[in-house]
Amino acid sequence: MGILADLFYPFRRPAQPPARPATGFFTDTTLCIGCKACEVACKQWNQLPSDGFNFTGDSYDNTQALSGTTWRHVVFVEQFPQPQKTESGFAPEALDIEALLAEPPAGRWLMMSDVCKHCGIAPCEIACPTGALIVNEFSNIYVQNDICNGCGYCVAACPFGVIARSPLDGHAHKCTLCYDRQRDDMPPACAKACPTGSIQFGPIDELRVRAHARLEELDARGVSGAYLYGDSPSASYSALNAFFLLIDKPDRYGLPNDPERPQLHLRGDYLRAAFGTLAALAVIAASLMSHVF
């Protein structure tokens, strides 16, 4: 009985909920203070276990990466120049106060709360052979925990190294964008916990408008090098529904500089495979039909 039920379970097709406005995250790294409240809020809401206690020495980042049991991860990047010998012979009269005040700080410590990008066209979802990964009614990429059988193809497909198979149950897991909370009209736990507004949640159109406004604001304040990552589609990748405001190159934060949709060449790959097949077939057929043998 039980076995039979298990057998038929995945084939049921319950009615789909009606679509709702697409939602996402806008993570503004210039506001992140690296408090990791998001990491903890995520684990607490979702009751995820800890990943073990490993002192990495990699700045204050001891969880290192997103995993099947870490769905928010705060990246720390220390950027400090070799200190120079302080100039001697201080002459207060010669001091240019204006220049003094405009002097930028000597180093910086970047922090970014990383998360599943909820890609507009999600390679993991496309790759998933069971249909466990779906685009839900909020246009978020969601793993149906009861469907996934742990084939691992999504892991291979994700260009951001987000989704992972947990050794605990053998299934793939990642940020659900707090699907359960959203259905009850609550913001995701991380966005709720973030004290500074670095993580912003909302309808994706609104977020994009807000992000552009923010960019202008930063520009006006003289923050150089700020840009949006994943805000709009590139030649090789779709827009991200969880996008970021960065102030250094993406790979400094552990993001690919030019993400590429793995299925970009799929049709060609199929054709080249067919070509190879036909070539082999031709060799075989020609040999078999030849009268030399």
Binding site: T130, D169, G170, H265, L266, R272, A273, I284
Partner: protein, 286 residues
């Protein structure tokens, strides 16, 4: 500074290597047998027959590997919920299902000694699934974000040729073993030309991954060198040597056996190399 690799290597290890090997061998062998049955039934009936008897057990073993490799093997049938051409794995699952079924039919047919016409129909029906099964894995790998794999535009083609050559290799061994010099000569010829094709395909695959332009995919310069060496090894030892053996080893069944062993062993080794590639490349970020 090289951009750091951020992708996670998929949790694929030994079971997947075994699956790649078994599936290639099975599909290649079936292809060879089916082609023989369809094109030269008069001559090598017994060989084809032996091949059909081997293919199904190979497929059984392969299915076992496929299932065991899942995170949750009890849910293997969830694969059959959907059919997604966009997912080579989904395509593959359906292909393998069809192919396994036909391999089973062929197996039964040989055991129950079904009429020749039935076997011919089974062979004809199984040819397409067998060919797809032999080739799709390459596409499955190349349509990922993994360092190395994602650049291998010709991997599907390479898999197709490699599967065929492994099948031909097995047939050569069978022919040599069964003391059929005529058939052996034929398969030696096929193996040789398939290997030549194979070398071309590997060259293409290699060209797209091990060049300095794509260093980022395999880590640093040394890793790239290692990868290049591996490729060269495969081409020289795995393909070049058996080609030479085929060319010179006329009539010697030991050499034929050695050839087949190298072809199959090379297939296994190259598949292991392939599976391990992202694990080697991705710097301890799992």
């Amino acid at each position: 500074m090289q951009p750091r690799i951020v992708t996670k290597a998929p949790p694929w290890h030994g079971w997947v290597t075994a699956d790649l090997f078994l599936l290639s061998t099975a599909s290649g062998t079936f292809t060879m047998a089916a082609m023989v049955v369809l094109l030269r039934p008069w001559e090598m009936d017994a060989l084809a027959r032996a091949a059909f008897l081997i293919v199904f057990p190979l497929m059984l073993a392969d299915l076992a590997c496929l299932i065991l490799d899942l995170g949750d093997p009890a849910r293997f049938h969830h694969m059959l919920r959907t059919f997604k051409p966009s997912s080579p794995m989904s395509v593959g699952v359906w292909t393998i299902s069809a192919f396994s079924f036909i391999a089973f039919l062929a197996f039964i047919a040989e055991i129950l000694d079904w009429p020749q016409s039935a076997i011919r129909s089974i062979a004809a029906a199984g040819l397409v699934p067998a060919l797809v099964a032999g080739a799709y894995k390459g596409v499955l790998f190349s349509a990922t974000a993994q360092p190395g794999w994602r650049r291998m535009r010709w991997l599907g083609g390479a898999f197709a040729v490699s599967s065929a050559s492994m099948g031909a290799g097995l047939m050569l061994a069978l022919a040599a073993g069964a003391g059929q010099p005529g058939a052996a000569r034929l398969f030696r010829f096929i193996v040789m030309w398939l290997l030549v094709l194979n070398a071309l395909a590997v060259r293409r695959v290699m060209g797209s991954t091990a060049t300095t332009g794509h260093l980022s995919d395999v880590g640093d310069r040394r890793a790239a060198l290692r990868v290049s060496l591996c490729y060269t090894g495969f081409i020289v030892a795995g393909l070049g040597v058996p080609i030479v053996l085929c060319a010179i080893g006329g009539g010697n069944s030991t050499i034929d056996g050695l050839t087949a062993a190298i072809v199959l062993g090379g297939g296994l080794a190259s598949r292991q190399f392939l599976v391990a590639l992202p694990h080697r490349s991705a710097p301890n970020r799992t």
